[in-house]
Amino acid sequence: MESHFSGLHGELLGTLYHLLGNMEDAHDALQETFIKCWRHRDQLPEIENVRAWIFRIAVNTGRDMRMTAWRRKRQALGDEQQAVPSNEATPAFHAQRSEQMEHLRIAVSELRDEEREVFLLRQNGDLTYEAIAETLSIPLGTVKTRMRMALTHLRQYLAPDDQPRKNPL
């Protein structure tokens, strides 16, 4: 169980962070997810896709926390920006890259919740669309539609731009 979580730590934390909107709740959710999985570790041998199982518990935990913690205001991602470590070494590269990442982070945050769930499960969980449909208990077509919608929105930030894009912030 610990090895599974170790391998998926970044993806799980990122997913929960983008689902909940702040790092503190993301950590709590991650802990809660681990505890749930740990308590059901006896079922692990019977689970075919452990990755999908862990992501499903994480998404459900994130949903529950998002519902029960509805009163919490979503904090600005900028507050968390310093908390996100960077792997770049050079300052110029770092600045450019940070800017791009910031744009993408904003783009992800602008996704609707259901689109974001599908995108994150695909992006971070690397789940097939069938597994996503099973995890979210929605039809496969709905999963793909939500994914296309998410990509359409993200394309504005991902595609090479010929003219400078307006910074939404």
Binding site: H9, G14, Q123
Partner: protein, 1023 residues
């Protein structure tokens, strides 16, 4: 989206695996072939990798061991959360169940109770229940006639008043409870007749009727009263008028009035001079009957100057405890032929006035009316408004020599009256039919040619329920009596009763229905044994199930005559119509029955020379005349002229019927008038309706009210049961609502605690619904709780299966109580009170002495029982004068002038001569023993006048038996006295009687006729 953007979108989908394999291959080929596109794809790929970095947060691995420990340390944390889940789930399940229960509680009353279906089912059950309750109603004679068949009508109905063709089992029982007669029959249209044969009537004291139909059964028991055999005595004398010092022979024939069989009885003959005076026993007379006959003789004191002698026979064994016959006495002390003749005629008239022929009376009475007389009377006695009435009349002509000039009759006030008329030489008779109006005066006007008219007022038409019309008033006794009842008022119960004053021989009781006016034919199947004149009366009686205090009302009465089927025919051979004086005759008398077979019988023979100057009696003579008609019927004055043989009267049925319709019933004062006959008779005589109600000579019993009460109780129990079921359903529903609501409330409150306010949309409405349901249930429960105590008590009133068993139990185990209840219930009906055994016994067994001690009873008794016909005026009079039925006749009673003349006449009276030469009965031939008459101390001047005046008996055989072939020979020596002689022979025995009247003219040879005036003194001189 332009092509470039579309291409970028496709490349993104290619990167994220959204494209299919074909799309992917096509796009890859395009990218490979286009350098710009490949560069752009590479750049897009790079940025998606950057996006992967953005979505993935690389932070140091957490301390999983710490999380594990925390998970292990807080291992109990999930447990409370699991218990909460379990509790939540449990609460949800319980709440769901409670909700289901709530829905069921709401739907339970609607699903379990279909009002329309229940109403139909209730109607069916009521109908079915009605068939389980049979009621039995019995009507019969309150006093059964002994020795004749008696009928009891039984009607069986269910509780819905519908006739039921039940199996009816009836048992006549003796006082000891032994079965006397048993019958089993099937009711048709709910009606059945229970008959008891003549031989068993006297033994019957109870009637038990059991009606069965399916599983239903109803019993009714009633006490019966039987009229004990009470014979009557017919008193006969050998002469119509007696002279002082003469020997008067008499006999009494004691017969059963219903069966005509002779009866044994101890009798006592008495005589007196005045009504109410001391009665002198005739010691020499027989004291008991032999072959139904007791005979004797008495010598009238020679010095006696009473105008009348009353001969009587008395016995407590007789129905008419005291029977008397008045015989006029000739006054021998009068001086002068005219005075002697006039006084004798007056005395004769005083006794036989109503029996005289009309012309004879007119000839007798100087100054008689010159106008025609008329008798008129509605059939039944009263004019009934609104229906067709038959007004019968009988008009006597003054001038009988002109029969072609029929009197003209009309009813003033009824313009369209129809006349059905017939004519006799002296009479016109017939009837009118018209519909009178209420309280309208009508007058019958009679006018004869060249004469003034007379008017006979008719009573006003009254608003009575019905009028009576009898179609065969004179008919053989084995034919049913056919009656038409013209109903004027609907919804009336009528009773038609036939019988005499003593017992009821037939009846019918019916409801006339709702249609009126209407004519309803009624047939009475009377026993053939009941013969002669009978009275048919129509009563209006209260409804059987009514609670009103209305008493039976006598609304019509009519006399009928039942021609005996069983009777003797007497033939007399050897009696010529004309004979010579002193001729010896040998009469051969033969008696045969109705089959023309010889029948032995006991004869009574009387022969006398009729008076030349006295009017002849004009009414049926002999046993038949007395027993069948004279004793019972008071014929109208205008009916004088009846044949002296009742069989001749029977031949002229139309006229006889007319006479009966105009007649009134002769009330027998020897009985207590328990049936109100006397009151009605008096009322009829006065032409007024009796305003007092009368007792019904019928016995009516019914368990209808008791059955109806039980049926109502059963219906109430049925309804109560249904209400209980409804209440039970409502109660159950209320309890379910309360319980389910309460449980739901608890569950939802618990869920609210567990789930928080965020789930208020789930548990909030449910909580409200549950709260409402619980309050509703509690309220309805509270409302139904008080009613539970009342509805619970109703089923205890009666069980559903009780009505079937209850009457049986009541009759079997507590019959006396049941009877008492029925009698108490029937108190308004006077007849029912009459039928109480004690009362009946007291009336039936009351000795004759009781009546004799009653002054009024004795007066009426004597008046009614004497030979002459009484009138209403006589009833009001007392003393000797009142006893003489001479109302309206000049010189009625004993005039003071005649009494004052008597002493003066004594000195002039001469001897009357020896009577031995007057053809007195000869001893030694079975005749009554006659003492030698004393010498007449009052000789008359003219013996011829005496001979002309006095009827002289020449033959008196009071008890003569025939041989086994019904034959007997009677030698007769005709006297020398010429004149008209009458032979009267009565025969009785074996329940049959017969009478024959024959005449013979005794006259000298024809050669002497031219010198008849001269031969008369010669005849007087002959001894």
């Amino acid at each position: 989206m332009n092509d470039r953007e579309l291409l970028q979108q496709q490349m993104l989908e290619l990167i994220y695996g959204l494209l299919s394999d074909e799309e992917s291959a096509e796009l890859v080929d395009r990218i490979s072939s286009d350098g710009e596109l490949a560069r752009e794809y590479a750049e897009l790929k790079e940025r998606t990798e950057l996006l992967a970095e953005v979505t993935r947060i690389d932070q140091p691995q957490p301390d999983y061991d710490k999380w594990k420990r925390e998970a292990d340390r807080n291992d109990d944390r999930p447990a409370p959360k699991g218990a909460a889940t379990w509790a939540s789930r449990t609460l949800q399940v319980v709440a769901a169940l409670a909700a289901c229960l709530l829905v069921a509680a709401l739907g339970y009353p609607r699903l379990s109770i279909d009002t329309e279906e229940q109403t139909l089912a209730m109607a069916k059950r009521q109908q079915s229940l009605a068939n389980n309750f049979l009621s039995v109603s019995v009507s019969g004679p309150s006093l059964m006639a002994a020795d004749v068949r008696n009928d009891f009508y039984v009607s069986v109905e269910n509780a819905a008043d519908e006739p039921v063709d039940a199996e009816v089992e009836y048992t006549f029982k003796s006082p000891e409870g032994n079965t006397v007669y048993y019958g089993l029959t099937q009711a048709v249209n709910g009606q059945v007749v229970c008959q008891i044969p003549p031989d068993e009537v006297s033994s019957a004291a109870k009637l038990e009727v059991v009606a069965k139909h399916g599983q239903s059964k109803s019993e009714l028991g009633l006490d019966l009263a039987v009229a004990p055999p009470k014979p009557i005595a017919v008193l006969q004398t050998d002469r119509e008028m007696v002279e002082p010092g003469e020997l008067l022979n008499f006999r009494a024939v004691v017969l059963d009035p219903q069966t005509n069989r002779d009866q044994s009885a101890n009798v006592d003959f008495v005589w007196s001079f005045a009504q109410g005076g001391p009665r002198n026993h005739i010691a020499s007379a027989e004291r008991s009957t032999l072959k139904g006959v007791a005979q004797g003789q008495m010598m009238l004191p020679a010095e006696e100057r009473t105008p009348i002698v009353e001969l009587g026979v008395q016995s407590p064994q007789l129905q008419n405890a005291y029977q008397q016959r008045a015989v006029p006495v000739v006054d021998n002390h009068l001086n002068g032929d005219d005075a002697y003749l006039a006084e004798s005629q007056r005395r004769y008239e005083s006794v036989y006035s109503n029996n005289l022929a009309n012309n004879a009376r007119a000839a007798l009475l100087s100054g008689a009316a010159t106008l025609p007389s008329v008798e008129a009377k509605p059939e039944g006695g009263q004019l009934v408004a609104g229906v067709k009435n038959r007004l019968r009349y009988m008009a006597n002509r003054v001038d009988a020599d002109q029969p072609q000039t029929a009197p003209q009759l009309q009813i003033n006030g009824a313009p369209e009256a129809q006349v059905a008329a017939s004519n006799k030489p002296e009479q016109a008779y017939g009837y009118f039919e018209f519909v009178p109006e209420a309280m309208q005066d009508y007058t019958l006007e009679v006018s004869e040619t060249a004469k003034d008219s007379i008017q006979q007022p008719i009573a006003q038409a009254l608003p009575l329920p019905a009028a009576l019309q009898i179609n065969n008033g004179v008919a053989p006794a084995d034919q049913p009596l056919e009656v038409e009842v013209r109903v004027a008022q609907p919804n009336t119960t009528l009773a038609l009763v036939a019988g005499d004053d003593y017992a009821t021989i037939g009846h019918n009781v019916w409801n006339v229905g709702v249609n009126a006016p209407i004519t309803q034919p009624v047939q009475l199947d009377l026993p053939a044994e009941a013969t002669g004149a009978q009275r048919v009366r129509l009563y209006s009686i209260p409804q059987e199930d009514s609670d009103s205090d209305q008493n039976p009302q006598l609304i019509a009465e009519r006399i009928i005559y039942r021609i005996p089927v069983q009777r003797y025919d007497i033939t007399v051979d050897g009696l010529p119509t004309v004979a010579q004086p002193g001729q010896k005759l040998d009469l051969q008398v033969a008696v045969t029955d109705e089959y023309d077979s010889p029948a032995p019988a006991t004869l009574g023979v009387q022969m006398e020379r009729l008076s030349d100057v006295l009017p002849q009696s004009q009414q049926p003579l002999g046993l038949e005349g007395e027993l069948f008609l004279n004793r019972r019927v008071q014929v109208p004055r205008g009916a004088a002229g009846m044949p002296d043989n009742v069989r001749d009267l029977e031949q002229d049925t139309v006229w006889f019927d007319q006479v009966l319709a105009l007649s009134s019933w002769r009330n027998d004062a020897s009985q207590v008038d328990s049936m109100g006959a006397m009151a009605f008779g008096m009322a009829l005589a006065a032409d007024t309706l009796p305003d007092t109600s009368v007792d019904l000579p019928l016995l009516r019993r019914s368990n209808k009210k008791a059955i109806a009460s039980d049926y109502q109780k059963a219906i109430a129990a049925l309804h109560s049961d249904w209400e209980n079921q409804l209440e039970q359903v409502r109660l159950t529903s209320s309890w379910l609502l309360s319980i389910a609501g309460s449980v739901l409330i608890v569950c939802l409150i618990a869920l609210a605690v567990l789930q928080g306010v965020s789930k208020i949309k789930v548990w909030g409405p449910g909580l409200l619904v549950a709260l409402g349901a619980m309050l509703w249930g509690m309220m309805s429960l509270n409302l139904s709780l008080p009613s539970m105590s009342t509805t619970k008590a109703i089923p205890d009133m009666v069980a559903l299966n009780e009505p079937i068993a209850k009457p049986m139990m009541a009759d079997r185990h507590d019959l006396s109580d049941a009877k008492a209840t029925i009698e108490e219930r029937s108190l308004p009906d006077g007849a029912l009170r009459k039928s109480a055994p004690k009362v009946s016994a007291a009336k039936l067994l009351q000795p004759a002495a009781e009546f004799q001690r009653n002054g009024m009873a004795i007066e009426q008794q004597q008046i009614n029982l004497k030979q002459g016909r009484p009138s209403v005026d006589n009833l009001a009079k007392g003393g000797f004068g009142g006893a003489m039925p001479s109302a309206g006749m000049p010189g009625a009673g004993m005039p003071a002038a005649a009494r004052s003349q008597a002493p003066a006449a004594d000195a002039d009276m001469g001897g009357i001569g020896d009577m031995r030469g007057m053809g007195m009965p000869q001893p030694g031939r079975g005749m009554g023993l006659m003492a030698q008459p004393a010498d007449n101390p009052f000789p008359k001047e003219s013996e011829s006048l005496r001979r002309k005046l006095l009827p002289q008996p020449i033959l008196w055989l009071p008890r003569l038996s025939t041989n086994s072939d019904g034959q007997v020979s009677i030698p007769v020596d005709l006297p020398q006295e010429p004149g008209r002689y009458r032979l009267l022979i009565d025969a009785h025995g074996s329940g049959r009687i017969g009478t024959v009247v024959r005449y013979i003219e005794v006259a000298p040879l024809a050669v002497s006729e031219p010198v008849a005036p001269a031969s008369e003194p010669a005849a007087e001189e002959s001894p």
